[in-house]
Amino acid sequence: MLLDDEVFAVLTAIVIIASVLGIAMVVRDELAGERFTAIGLLNEDCRIGDYPRYAYPNQTLRLCLYVYNHMGEPVYWKVSYKLGDNTTLPTTNTTSPRPVIAEWRGVLDHGLNSTRIIEVTVLEPPANATRVALIFELYTYNTLENRWEYTGRWVHLYITVER
């Protein structure tokens, strides 16, 4: 035979595998994967590292917020800024009990991220405390119940407050 049987069988197998993979990719639901959001804190140049370590009371620091959406749909997000210490940090289930000092909002499409330069004021801590934590908590808006939900994601940065 002009066309070798074994070569033809291999070629047919390749076409079948390619066809199956192609169908799987076409019908795959992009919303079926893992859904998550992410938050990051960057320095004033929007890069990792070289964060401020010291601040005076009521000094304003420039930082950069990073938020990423992988929820499979557009997300209305909010980051709340709080000032606390190692006893008032958030957990994956609970937010920090400290009051909100500032908030930033945005809307992100699936698979996109947002970096935003922010200015935060380091309020004067209690008299016996010098080390404070700048806490940033990420919330997303539940559009069915019309309320903000804590995502369980947060970042914090320890700062020594000079007096």
Partner: protein, 139 residues
């Protein structure tokens, strides 16, 4: 009496205006984001509208509430227009997926059937000028 009624009406109008102004951005953006979620499920491209909403939230936070409302109103109008288009877009999307799957399903049998014939045709056309001589040397 008439003056009192007029004053009362003006006061009511002012109160209503202050309520509108005091409306939270969440009350405006939240429903629009819900609409965008539904549009995206219908496979409508909403990336531009999401960017507009993001811009509106930034304007609002920077204190430019009027600018934010202009963007929000434009976005809302576009969302309403797209809502009417969404069913058609979804049907087209399903048709495109079904057609692609059908083509991919037909590819293996088509290859199995047609490839040997195509190969034979190419093989023969490549050797079109050859002459078959019985008993000739292989050189």
């Amino acid at each position: 009496m008439l003056l009192t009624l007029l004053t009362l009406l003006l006061a009511l109008a002012a109160l209503q205006g202050s309520l509108v102004a005091a409306e939270s951005i969440d009350d405006v953006v939240g429903p629009l984001v819900r609409d965008l979620e539904e549009l995206r499920r219908s496979r409508v491209d909403v990336s531009g509208l999401v960017a507009s909403l993001d811009e509106a939230t930034r304007l609002w936070e920077s204190g430019d509430v009027e600018g934010a409302l202009v963007v929000l109103n434009a976005t809302k109008a576009e969302v309403e227009a797209l809502k009417a288009e969404a069913p058609r877009v979804y049907v087209l999307y399903i048709a495109r997926v079904a057609l692609t799957v059908l083509i991919l399903l037909l590819a293996p049998p088509a290859f199995y059937t047609l490839f040997p014939r195509l190969y034979l045709r190419l093989w023969l056309s490549y050797r079109r000028g050859w002459v078959v001589v019985k008993g000739a040397s292989r050189r």
